[in-house]
């Protein structure tokens, strides 16, 4: 891991991420990631105050361990991203609020913003995405997060279809990207 990792991350973000690992990879899978990150002490973080924070460097160690162990496992990462959204925002809030909140829950040198918001299409720009900053790592997790976050704010019959330009994951700037989220409306 290289770079300057300053910032803070609310405990509730870590809890949601660990819960997502637990759901998709089960207990030993979650432990594998924490062990690789040398962060086993965070295993019981759910018992702590969700509004307190950990330092961003510790959080980034978990993400780096995840990206190392789940190399070439894009389906799993996408599913983990969906679960991460589910546990971080379990109650129905709209997509715009989710984008605002994710920026305020993870405070570091990154930015997620909505650059277009039309009836049937929302375009999200992610600058210096923290979930895929390593060279060679695509951003399946955060795509899953965005897709599920929008999906759950829509009526149940509507469907989110997403588009993302193919990234050259060996480009050091590949963690700056745009995701188009198209909404397929099904009127009854």
């Amino acid at each position: 891991m290289i770079g300057d990792y300053k910032g803070t991350v609310k405990n509730k973000v870590v809890v949601a991420l660990l819960q997502a690992y637990h759901d998709i990879l089960d207990y030993d899978g979650m432990k594998s990631i924490l062990r690789e990150a040398e962060m086993m002490h965070l295993k019981d973080i759910k018992d702590k105050n969700p509004n307190e924070s950990i330092d961003f460097f510790s959080f980034k160690k978990i993400i780096s361990a995840q990206n190392c162990l789940l190399y070439d496992s894009s389906i799993l990462l996408f599913e983990i991203g969906k679960k991460f959204s589910f546990y971080l925002f379990p109650f129905g809030i709209n997509f715009e609020e989710i984008i605002d909140k994710i920026n305020s829950l993870i405070i570091t040198d990154w930015k997620v913003k909505i650059i277009e918001n039309n009836t049937n299409e929302i375009i999200v720009q992610v600058n210096r995405c923290i979930f895929c900053s390593e060279i060679g790592v695509p951003c399946d997790l955060f795509e899953g997060f965005l897709v599920h976050s929008l999906q759950k704010s829509l009526p149940s019959q509507d469907l989110v279809i997403y588009e993302m330009n193919k990234q050259d994951i060996n480009d050091p700037n590949h963690n700056n990207f745009v995701v188009k989220l198209k909404i397929k409306r099904n009127f009854k």
Binding site: I24, D28, G29, S74
Partner: protein, 187 residues
């Protein structure tokens, strides 16, 4: 593959597959930490460990990601996602339980071919060879099955005493690397 300066870094995903309690976790533990636990504790989901190998000739570092995937049937759907990107596997059965031997041909090899990478490689492993008085699947049957499923090798291992454990992983690594165009003798 990633380039770090002049050094090439590779990550290769491998699995260990087989019925519950055939000794998948014990084989990995023996190989990675040279330890063995008598008491059986089932894997919950997937346990992932890494093994780094330096290749001087090629100025490369290869990180093998070893996925120890649970054997219980109730996790069928999740398990399919675990196979994505997998370049090789050890197909393990317990030599003292014939049903685990049968399941290699009726279940594990089929699943691996269906969900793993095309052209991936696999070894057939008969584990618990130290329990000589209880063996139900003979060496001859193991060899025949390995030929039938076109495994690159058949080995009998004892995770308890370490017999052939390192050899099994090294053969798997060598064959996977060979498929990736890296010729090196780790055996």
């Amino acid at each position: 593959m990633m380039d770090e300066g002049d050094k090439k870094k590779w990550a290769i995903k491998l699995t260990v597959l087989g019925d519950a309690a055939v000794g998948k976790t014990s084989l990995i533990n023996k190989y990675i930490t040279n330890s063995f636990k008598e008491k059986y504790q089932p894997t919950l989901g997937v346990n992932i460990v890494t093994k780094d190998i330096q290749i001087q000739e090629d100025n490369s570092e290869i990180q093998f990601l070893l996925w120890d995937i649970l054997g219980q049937d109730k996790y069928e759907l999740t398990r399919q996602m675990f196979f994505q990107g997998c370049a090789g596997t050890l197909l393990v059965y317990d030599m003292t339980r014939y049903s685990t031997f049968e399941r290699v041909k009726t279940k594990w090899i089929e699943d691996f071919k269906k969900y793993g990478k095309p052209d991936s490689v696999y070894l057939l492993i008969g584990n618990k060879s130290d329990l000589k008085d209880s063996i139900k699947a003979s060496s001859e049957e193991g060899k025949l099955l390995a030929d039938k499923i076109e495994a690159v090798e058949f080995l009998e291992t004892s995770a308890k005493y370490g017999e052939n454990v390192e050899k099994a992983f090294r053969i798997l690594f060598s064959h996977v690397l060979e498929k990736s165009g890296v010729k090196i003798d780790l055996e």
